[in-house]
Symmetry: C2
Subunit: 302 residues, 2 copies
Amino acid sequence: MSILVVGSVAYDTVETVRERRERQLGGSASYFALAALGRVPVRCVGVVGDDFRQADLDLLASRGADTAGIVRAAGPSFHWSGRYHADMIERDTLRTDLGVFADFRPEIPAAWRDSEYLFLANIHPALQLQVLEAMAGPRLVALDTMNLWIGTTRPQLLAVLARVDVLLVNDGEARQLTGERSLARAARAIADLGPRRVVVKKGEHGALWFGPEGVLAVPAVILDDVVDPTGAGDSFAGGFMRSLALAGADRTDGDTPFRAAMLDGTVTASFCPEGFSVEGLLGADETRYAARLAELLAMMTP
Amino acid sequence: MSILVVGSVAYDTVETVRERRERQLGGSASYFALAALGRVPVRCVGVVGDDFRQADLDLLASRGADTAGIVRAAGPSFHWSGRYHADMIERDTLRTDLGVFADFRPEIPAAWRDSEYLFLANIHPALQLQVLEAMAGPRLVALDTMNLWIGTTRPQLLAVLARVDVLLVNDGEARQLTGERSLARAARAIADLGPRRVVVKKGEHGALWFGPEGVLAVPAVILDDVVDPTGAGDSFAGGFMRSLALAGADRTDGDTPFRAAMLDGTVTASFCPEGFSVEGLLGADETRYAARLAELLAMMTP
């Protein structure tokens, strides 16, 4: 099976109360690809600048990412700088330098057009739609977006949503998109826009699944220490899609594989905040994964 | 079996975006007692002013509350006024008139000193300790508190906590009390203060149980419409303690009855926001309760 992701491959400069790390590997496609944990190859489509370290591309490749779709362009790489508050949830964006990402026009390599699973990470919805139209007809399409696109490019977002199977958003975005305060109502309104399956990500409060067969609430694994939560949402998406790909799920299936994928997304995301940048994800091995899945299931069992 | 609650019996004036309701029945002891749903009699200790409507006391009594411990004093009843934001979570306190509650000195009727289950609702910790010392040795003691007491009366709070079995607080209070950002660390720190069992209430994000045998995460029931969330936390506590009393649980038991009680607290609390004041709780009958419990269990089952 094959997963294709289109998103950012970037550098992040992250400050927490304890530490500051400069220009580390980040970006939605990076987290997503590493969240497959090497169990499924992930085809990455993105762009980096001429300042991007080959070692970072090599790291992605060494962990199962196919980086052949990451174009190198002249100019600086996308660089985000942010500072987390002491609660490790609220954060201030200090700087967003789009660099070569500003002119990103995703090109899907011809051999990748038949990819079965497509994840449209958070980029301009017009680009998401172009990617979707370039594909040969994936088994399943999932999409992430953000408040900026919901607020400023709604028509384009609605056009791509009409062709999406699973929408992954946070609770604020679900409310902004639909104008519904109740997440139950919001999920129904989103289904009317296209995606019959909705994942509402709530950070430390876990994630909710809304599907044709009902609702599933998955708590977040409770961590003793949060080092850097950046990328946890994309790590969730990576674990979720890896699970669906391994199960061979498609849009005609009932909710069962999706509910299982919610657990895999949650467990995968739980490793991300344990280190800066992608270090937490890199620390997830089979043994720790199994232990944490058992811990999660125990938390859900009355 | 017998449950005794000490807390406020009050009037609330609540404003939401849609509606304003004046001087309706409220207070922690009122919600707690009605949350027993008439399945267990609840002995209420509190004070009301000479303006308190007999009809409200009669309502409590008609639903299984024993109001013999509610003293009537000269002066106005405790009256809280608040305004909810559009999100129905954030709220501004417009006014707090303590009235006769300011001089409340709980008197436990002699015949009630042998009550088996004791809930110390959110009042001054010195009063909570006096009540505890007046009892003959309850099977189980649970306590609620708030940021005010954590911040201003910490020594008194620690004195009573040392003798409490179950602490029910919200996530911000757990963090304030312990200085720990991680709720897992906070629960361990609270266990060192006395309560080996901690319920962390998170409103629409559900509730967490931390006990000697592990963690349970219970999501909140997702409502289509929230009319007035006032009292949901006390309703949770009422459902939780009713469940433990019906199970005959005590502090030597394993986590099993407490984990079941988390479900009962959650289901009970879910009715509260469906109406103003105690109206939501009054709308909970056996059939709706069973349906909602089934809904909650489905939400927790991968």
